[in-house]
């Protein structure tokens, strides 16, 4: 059945779309609105601020606390994403292409890790990291992020690799490519959408994590934004930090939006069409 395209149908769909978008965006917009309010009007219940102010933003960027946390967040998430995607790509490639002993076990174990309740690992990790002297360091967060992001990366990527016709790789080998060249010049470009999708998912996972961030850090040295937010006090001890927290919340969604927008353009489907008679 074809989708109706009459004006009435369009109107109906349009309304429905608006409804869904509004429903999803109200909390976000509410926070954005709070971030522009002065402390006096903060609780007046108006959706649109009556007195606009940028003070909250000024406050958070004035304190070293937030800027430092932002740097930590960006650094840790990017490094963890990069490593997880590279390792995940190699593992996924092996899983989708080779029949090696212990393949089922590998897949099973990575699935197990994904299902493991992270909360139960917090205290052991805390102890281990203190022993290893990586507690409250970037490495201390990057390592667990990679561990928990890898199963996700492996799963998404092997699904993408499986879609790429095997014949392409054989053809590349016949054309004189080494295994590495075949992967880099033929398979990887075709798996690019998968690599970007995975990168986005892993980045969001690292960026949003609160549990590890709060329990494996103790100072500004490596505290990421989600954790730092909970320590927010505002400009002075006695100010209500709500406005500042909201401003910070708005600020930390910006990198994610940029990240997604940047990579989304590369997630075009149908890259492999024309490769084989289908």
């Amino acid at each position: 059945m074809a989708v109706e395209t009459t004006t009435r149908a369009k109107l109906r769909w349009g309304l429905l779309d608006v409804l869904v978008v509004v429903f999803a965006l109200v909390p976000v917009l509410w926070i954005a609105s709070l971030s522009f309010k002065t402390p006096a009007t903060l609780t007046d219940g108006n959706f649109i601020p009556r007195e606009w102010t940028l003070d909250n933003y000024r406050t958070i960027f004035d304190t070293d606390q937030f800027v430092r946390a932002l740097v930590n967040s960006i650094g840790i998430a990017l490094i963890a994403t990069l490593i997880a995607v590279v390792l995940g790509a190699m593992a996924a490639y092996a899983i989708s292409r080779l029949d090696f002993p212990g393949k089922k076990l590998l897949v099973g174990v990575s699935l197990l890790i994904a299902m493991f309740p992270q909360v139960s690992l917090v205290s052991p990790l805390f102890e281990i990291e203190r022993q290893l002297k990586i507690f409250d360091t970037w490495l201390g967060l990057i390592l667990p992020y990679i561990t928990f992001a890898l199963p996700l990366a492996i799963y998404t990527l092997s699904a993408f690799f499986k879609q790429i016709p095997w014949d392409l790789e054989k053809a590349a080998k016949m054309d004189g490519a080494t295994q590495g060249q075949a992967f880099r010049r033929v398979i990887a470009p075709l798996a690019a959408p998968g690599l970007f999708t995975t990168a986005i998912l892993v980045f969001i996972f690292c960026w949003n994590d609160f549990l590890f961030a709060i329990s494996l850090t103790s100072t500004e040295r490596s505290r990421t934004v989600p954790a730092a937010l909970s320590f927010f006090t505002g400009a002075s001890q006695f100010e209500d930090p709500t406005g500042a927290i909201c401003a910070a919340a708005v600020v930390i969604t910006v990198p994610i939006i940029l990240f997604v927008l940047f990579f989304q353009r590369r997630i075009v489907s149908g890259l492999t069409s024309g490769a084989v008679k289908g």
């Binding site: 054989k170 053809a171 080998k173 016949m174 490519a177 492999t272 069409s273 084989v276 008679k277």
Partner: protein
């Protein structure tokens, strides 16, 4: 340019499947060899072993006199055309064809010149900047060929390269392949399912069954002098007719009457372990309307009468289907052939007789017609092992030979 030698090459997969068994094959420099056989007989596996995409379990593979068993595909200098074309979808036609040359680290000018040359030969010049997704099936096929010929490899391997094309394009591309191979003179191994491709393209045809080579030879030789039941039934379209024949009192009792046998076959049948039942094979074109046969020819054959089932007039001649009574020929080979061709195509062993008569024959459906057939063209097979008993020193001599 190089010769390819397979010396007792076998392949068994980790799950125990023996896909190829002791294949001996010598492919001369510049020769065009066709591998045919039913589905699953190990054609692709053999080709992949020559290519280096599959390991060889045992035996030796030599290209240009050099053992290459352990060499990676890229060190064998062989090009392959895949059934699926396997074009790189992220590259343009030009980039696809240039890919092997770029890997070989040729300089840009040489690459451009070679690609342009190959594109010209295959009439791809105007398509060089397109992506494979925007090409038709035939064009993709040509790009795949182009990618194989640009770097002038020692040999071409092709795995059913035309089977994804429609019938008309396939005929067209067949001549392209044939012309290209003659022009370049490059050793070629070509896998196909198609009778016509097998008969028309190659210098020699290799028939495989269950991983083993059945017979190797020029197409006409396989057609005229099949070594066994399988080859006889596989080559030819429509296929050879097979009838049950009981040996009795120095004669063969068949559905077409009592067929006399000559001394040579009689001697074969006198051995203690000789079969008491045979399978008689005869090709459709060795029948003729009895009215149209002159006396001289008549003496070389015999006649029978049977009801006409269907007449298909082809203009140049008529395919006439007769119903014959009697026991059906049965052998493992025949069942396999029927399964591969689909029961409809392989009428060979049923109660049906396919004949090709002259166009002048006034034969009509429903009537009973008198038909002559050539005894010199008859083949007799041992149902137990499929051996052709009428074959003597590689020549088939019919049932009457002394």
């Amino acid at each position: 340019m190089a010769d390819i030698v397979l010396d007792k090459v076998s392949k068994s997969f980790p799950d125990g499947t023996v896909a190829v068994q002791d294949v001996d094959l010598e492919i001369a420099d510049g020769e065009f060899v066709i591998l045919v056989g039913p589905s699953g007989c190990g054609k692709s596996t053999t080709l992949n072993m020559i290519a280096g995409l599959e390991d060889i379990s045992s035996g030796e593979l030599r290209i240009a006199g050099q053992r290459v068993n352990d060499k990676a595909p890229r060190d064998r200098d062989i090009a392959m055309v895949f059934q699926s074309y396997a074009l790189y979808p992220n590259m343009t036609v030009r980039e696809n064809m240039a890919f092997p040359l770029r890997l070989a680290k040729l300089d840009k000018e040489t690459i451009d010149r070679k690609v342009d040359e190959a594109a010209k030969v295959l009439e791809l010049t105007s398509l060089l900047d397109r992506k494979p997704a925007n090409l038709s099936g035939g064009q993709r096929q040509r790009v795949a060929m182009g990618r194989a010929i640009v770097r002038q490899p020692k040999a071409f391997l092709m795995d059913e390269p035309l089977s994804n094309l429609d019938a008309k394009l396939r005929v067209q591309m067949r001549t392209v392949v044939s012309r290209l191979q003659k022009q370049l003179g490059t050793t070629t191994v070509y896998v196909t399912h198609d009778q016509t491709e097998a008969m028309t393209l190659g210098d020699r045809v290799v028939i495989m069954r269950g991983g083993a080579v059945q017979q190797v030879g020029p197409p006409q030789e396989l057609y005229d002098h099949p070594k066994n039941l399988f080859v006889a039934g596989f080559i030819g379209s429509p296929s050879m007719n097979f009838l049950h024949a009981a040996v009795q009192d120095g004669e063969l009792h068949t559905a077409l009457g009592k067929v006399p046998i000559g001394d040579r076959v009689r001697r074969e049948l006198e051995a203690a372990d000789a079969p008491r039942e045979l399978i008689l094979g005869i090709r459709p074109e060795h029948f003729e309307d009895a009215e149209l046969v002159d006396d001289d020819t008549r003496r070389r054959g015999m006649e029978f009468e049977a009801p006409v089932d269907i007449v298909e007039s082809m203009g140049s001649d008529k395919y006439v289907y007769f119903t014959v009574e009697g026991e059906k020929a049965s052998a493992a080979e025949l069942e396999e052939l029927a399964a591969d061709a689909g029961a409809a195509d392989f009428a060979g062993a049923g109660g049906n007789l396919v004949t090709r008569l002259s166009a002048e024959s006034p034969v009509a459906e429903g009537q009973t017609r008198r038909v002559w057939f050539n005894l010199e063209k008859i083949h007799l097979f041992d149902p137990a092992n499929g051996r052709n008993l009428t074959l003597h020193e590689g020549r088939a001599a019919g049932a009457l030979a002394d």
